[in-house]
């Protein structure tokens, strides 16, 4: 890639993971595609996916605040365009 910035920093890796992990948890359907255990009569497939909607929030919030922290460190706000 002919678009070098300062290279990947360790916080960048963390940022990527904070988005990648929730994405994979939701995307890879085979692991949650089952009926049992049910919750109040609701199959696992249904209630687990609804639960995932809540599970992703702390990941996204961590991403948000880590970015804010990074940006206050860089005066130009990270825009390199």
């Amino acid at each position: 890639m002919k678009y070098p910035k300062t290279g990947m920093k360790s916080t960048d890796v963390v940022l990527v993971l904070l988005l990648l992990i929730p994405a994979l948890l939701n995307f890879y359907a085979p692991y949650y595609n089952m009926v049992n255990p049910t919750l109040g009569g609701l199959p696992f497939f249904w209630w687990f996916q609804i639960l995932l909607l809540v599970i992703v929030v702390p990941f996204y919030l961590a991403f948000t605040y880590l970015q804010k922290h990074n940006e206050s460190a860089e005066p130009n706000g990270g825009v390199t365009s």
């Binding site: 995307f27 109040g40 009569g41 909607l53 809540v54 992703v56 929030v57 948000t64 804010k68």
Partner: protein, 500 residues
């Protein structure tokens, strides 16, 4: 029931008109009408984007799909969870670059970034066209609500036709007068009604039925419990394609750019998946309906799964409350449709017409935008007739196939300039044409009932297949085409020349 519907609709209309005066800017200016002057804080941005994203798709199309085809259409739940991650990766960067350079559409960005007027115009055209079926879906949603209230007045066919005409007129009038400010204010109102509806209906239905264990009984078809193995590739590709596509829509870009700061944008986005819980519960209504005989009978009398949620509302709530709930769904189609139409008009005037008539006055621009948005709604109406109503969700999926083709230029382009403009143009066209062709092929050139195409590894959402073709063309051509020292297209203003 109709009484409470009308009273609340009057309040809603008032908010729409009031909204056009609220925090008033100069409404003759296009970015005032269309971007609310870029002054929305985290809370309002949350509601605006929420209104963009939770639409008739959620209230009508997804439950209908689940009702007819089962767990497959639950893909909307993980799609919502992932799409906000995609948004976090790209939207704040788009916001920052746009703020710095004064862009108000995705086309503005692409034009400057790749120094290509052609690419920018193409992007605007694809954005406008991709929104047409999405708007059509909102019209279908509004029609469904009205028809379910008018049932019994005449036969169902007549009721549906009258409902369609009324829905269309209300939409056109609303968009014309309110602009994005009005839509945002009404979005807050809409969301309150929606949450109320979801919670009340699920509580009422479950107490009547006696819990989910009476819904998911052994007599219910297995397709409602979980996916069959052959459905997995379709499911996963629908999740991925939808999640990557959502924030490429012009109205979503509008939502992004009207935020007050990048941090506020991220913060509101982080919480948006919570909204998906409502979507998940509504999807379950498609199963729940089988346990409520009165509602099931109504759905069957219309012969369309679209009536799942309205029928459950009418059969489990007292009439006055049913009116409130139905209004929630009605404006749940109306507000997003207005926001989408505004985004279309914005693109047309700013990125297409102005390219050829640069001397337009701001007043002339706004007038054109308002009339264009009315015209686009008529074209959208045509899409209502090319689908089988139970599978109205295909309208949104069709929009997704088209809009996802902007991914390389609009999103990947935020992080790299390596792509060549010619490559992006060829890739975009390759993606669009292959997408449309595969859709026609998958549906045997008839009514739209599917958006997946059978491949060697199973059925895959066409958006993903076409994006593959698009990316392949873009990457190969970018590698092959030699880089020129200077841009060939003269009319591009020399904003910032690439230094490579």
């Amino acid at each position: 029931m109709i009484g409470s519907f009308i009273v609340l609709f009057a309040i809603f209309t008032f908010l729409g008109f009031y909204g056009s005066r609220w925090r008033r800017g100069d409404m003759g200016q296009l970015n005032e009408w269309a971007l609310a002057g870029r002054r929305l804080g985290a809370t309002l941005a949350f509601f605006l984007v929420g209104a963009d994203l939770y639409t008739a798709y959620t209230f009508v199309a997804v439950p209908s799909g689940v009702y007819a085809a089962g767990a497959l259409y639950a893909f909307a739940i993980p799609y919502v969870a992932i799409t906000f991650g995609v948004a976090l990766a790209f939207a704040p960067r788009l916001w920052k670059i746009s703020k710095e350079k004064g862009y108000i559409t995705g086309s503005d960005f692409v034009k400057d970034r790749f120094e290509s007027r052609t690419l920018s115009i193409l992007l605007a055209i694809v954005g406008i066209v991709a929104l047409l079926p999405y708007i059509a879906l909102q019209i279908v949603g509004m029609q469904t609500v009205l028809a379910s209230m008018l049932v019994g007045i005449a036969n169902n066919t007549v009721v549906e036709e009258v409902a369609l005409i009324i829905a269309f007129i209300i939409l056109a009038a609303f968009t014309f007068t309110s602009g994005l400010r009005g839509a945002t204010l009404t979005a807050v109102f809409k969301d309150i009604l929606i949450w109320l509806t979801v919670i009340v209906v699920i509580a009422a239905a479950l107490s009547e039925i006696g819990g989910f264990s009476h819904v998911f009984t052994p007599s219910l078809s297995a397709k409602y419990f979980a996916l069959s193995s052959p459905q997995l590739p379709a499911y996963m590709s629908l999740v991925l394609g939808s999640a990557m596509a959502l924030y490429l829509y012009p109205h979503a870009v509008n939502g992004i750019l009207s935020a007050e700061s990048a941090h506020k944008l991220r913060l509101s986005t982080s919480f948006l998946s919570i909204y998906g819980i409502g979507l998940g519960l509504l999807a379950l209504f498609g199963v729940l309906v089988y346990a409520v005989p009165g509602a099931l009978a109504m759905v069957k009398s219309f012969g369309s799964g679209l009536y799942v949620v309205p029928a459950l509302i009418l059969n489990t709530l007292p009439p006055w409350l049913a009116g409130v709930a139905l209004l929630g769904i009605f404006v749940g189609g109306l507000v997003p449709a207005a926001i989408m139409a505004i985004a279309q008009a914005n693109l047309l005037t700013r990125n297409i017409v102005k390219e050829f008539r640069p001397n337009m006055t701001p007043q002339g621009e706004t007038r054109l935008a308002k009339w264009a948005s009315a015209a686009f709604k008529f074209i959208a109406l045509a899409f209502v007739f090319v689908i089988s109503s139970t599978y109205a969700i295909q309208l949104q999926l069709l929009g997704g196939i088209l809009i996802l083709q902007l991914f390389p230029s609009l999103f990947i382009g935020l992080y790299t300039r390596w792509f060549k403009k010619e490559a992006l143009i060829v890739g975009l066209l390759g993606g669009i044409f292959s997408g449309v062709y595969l859709v026609l092929l998958a549906n045997h050139f008839g009514k739209l009932i599917t958006s997946v195409y059978p491949t060697a590894v199973g059925s895959i959402y066409i958006a993903i297949l076409s994006l593959g073709i698009n990316l392949l063309l873009t990457i190969v051509l970018s590698a092959v085409i030699p880089r020129r020292a200077k841009a060939e297209e003269v009319p591009v203003p020399p904003t910032k020349v690439s230094t490579q």
